[in-house]
Symmetry: C2
DNA sequence: TGACTAATTTGGAACGTTCCAATTAAAGTT
DNA sequence: AACTTTAATTGGAACGTTCCAAATTAGTCA
């Protein structure tokens, strides 16, 4: 009910010591006598004192806040990524500004500026589509560590943490080929992201490696969402010669593809092989369980946060680029071996 | 590259005015002469000055930070809720600490303490299971507005924003009854949450209202997740006399129920009617599209944030309890009218 | 021009911490 | 007892802002 919160000097007065001593107690210094420490700590809970980290930051210039900006929280991949970051950030005694840019560069710029004003010690950014290196230049220039995750940001001289999209896509396609598929589509995504182009590159290279001719119609663009997957299938159904399997840009698209196939009375995993990308939690429990390239979003979030904290503590920032490896998790959605895919059109 | 960030006095010196004038310019005061304002603003971008909101807070005691604690970000319902909050918080010029408690009261306590030290102006809490009124008492006592959402927190004298779970469940069951169903299950959830008990109450009341005898076996507990839905179906399949439809605790469970039915070769929406709760974005595009009680999570997040901001600005907090109305969205998963449900066991 | 009002500008205290240099108290050592 | 170490404690400046009362400058009117 007090108008003004109780401060360090209030408890100093109450304990009959100086504010410096109280400060020492607060930071657990061994310099202070056990008896005074005890008395002070007692008063601290008794008076309901709460530490003012803002004031401390003002003096020390190093805050315990990290900023996290994610392009789409409603996509479970990014939600899990955020949860992974949250985990390590919190247990390191930091607290996070977490914002959602909704793929808007403007909004992203705004929140980064606002975070900066609030004195973040570092930033983890999963950039919105269309982000330029310039958007984080001034941040990086002022010595605040930045880690870019998931999507590449060419030209930015900051650390990045990406998954091995190329290898993952290649492994997925090889698996489908091994099952006997020859007409394989790539579904979902638009050309303007590195994630898309890397995965498509893996898709293409695996096909040529197996001597299968490329068919550009089989790369079916759509929104990288569940709804996008449904749309892609609609498009595919119009083809005279249809694919027998597809690698999807991500799990969300893959689930959409399952939905779309069902409305066309094709059973996913039996009449058509599907592989997703990311390995979101639902991938395991879905029916059919989704074969997918596991990126381990939560683990990736953890690694990103660890990388950032390392740089914050190190003081100087040496730019690091990590590509996390990825593995194909075979479940039901890619189906049993297909004997004569030529006859399935 | 400067060791120390440039401050208000740096640009004051450069512009040949006092720091007070610069401060005035910063807050857009009409007191300052246009010419000096112009000069000062010029120097501000030129020297790359960034406002230190922490220092300002120290002086003013009212920050532009709100805390948001959510029990499970990986559940799309809560992710969307968070996005809704983010939207209004950001456009009001605030920035948010967003944390994920993962249903752990300990962790929740920690992050709330940490947020408090960082000087949040208010808190929105979607409490972890097992949270007690006491956990936010000291916060509320110190005059910081708190809004509790989604889950009730009995005994806490703070504002709450809940959806009308009772009415929603009742409407859903009435609809199923109208389609001819008589043996209707309730799937998912555990007894310790108000959300669960309210929805079950609606379920029960609607059944007795229609003169249908209650069967407690038909309330099938499980984790409130997709995996939980699958598990609930497994349990149901063992019944001698099976339900013909189910209301699910939430959409995640409902999707799981669809999965579970499919692995038992029952087509969701045809052989078995399913109604979800929440209306997550995927509900619309799923196949079959999910009939569900729409809670509009994003809208709810927005309302919660607006409520909080109102209280922050008002200065004094008058406790408000809002129950947002809810509506049944009929799509495909509850199926066509069932003629003779007695013969479907 | 002088007096008065309106428009601008400005020192300095204050917010709650940390840190440094300096002081005081306690404990050993001859 | 006089000194040296070691242990504990302490003022006060500093961090970057806001706010107030007061000072300065410009403008207006007789």
């Amino acid at each position: 009910m007090n108008r003004t919160r109780t401060s360090i000097v209030d408890i100093a007065r109450a304990a009959g010591v100086s504010k410096s001593t109280v400060s020492l107690v607060l930071q657990g210094s061994p310099l202070v006598n056990d008896k005074t420490r005890e008395k002070v700590s007692g008063l601290i809970d008794e008076l309901g004192y709460v530490y003012n980290r803002g004031a401390a930051n003002l003096r020390q210039a190093r805050s315990k806040i990290v900023g996290i900006v994610v392009n789409d929280l409603t996509n479970s991949f990014f939600a899990e990524l955020a949860v992974g970051m949250d985990l390590v950030v919190q247990s390191a005694g930091y607290v996070q500004f977490l914002a959602h840019s909704g793929e808007s560069v403007d909004r992203q710029r705004q929140v980064i500026a606002s975070m900066r004003e609030n004195g973040i010690a570092g930033l983890i950014l999963s950039p919105a589509r269309g982000t330029e290196a310039n958007d984080i230049k001034s941040l990086a220039d002022s010595g605040i560590p930045v880690v870019v995750v998931v999507r590449n940001l060419p030209g930015a001289k900051v650390s990045t943490l990406l998954s091995d999209n190329y290898a993952g896509a290649k492994a997925a396609i090889r698996h489908l080929i091994g099952l006997g598929h020859r007409r394989i589509a790539f579904m979902g995504g638009f050309v303007d992201t590195a994630v898309f182009s890397d995965r498509v590159r893996g898709y293409r290279d695996a096909l040529v490696e197996a001597g299968i001719p490329l068919n550009d119609n089989f790369i079916i663009h759509s929104a990288p969402s569940r709804a996008g997957g449904v749309a892609a299938v609609e498009r595919m159904m119009l083809f005279a010669e249809r694919p027998t399997a597809a690698l999807c840009l991500n799990d969300a698209v893959a689930f959409g593809v399952c939905d779309g196939l069902r409305s066309n009375n094709i059973e996913p995993g039996k009449g058509f092989g599907i592989i997703g990308f990311d390995d979101v939690i639902e991938a395991k429990t879905a029916v059919p369980a989704l074969t997918t390239v596991s990126v381990d979003p939560q683990g990736m979030g953890q690694r990103a946060a660890q990388l950032l904290l390392k740089q914050i503590n190190a003081g100087q920032i040496d730019q690091e680029s990590i590509v996390t490896s990825v593995r194909l998790v075979v479940r039901q959605s890619c189906g049993a071996p297909v004997k004569q895919p030529e006859e399935m059109a």
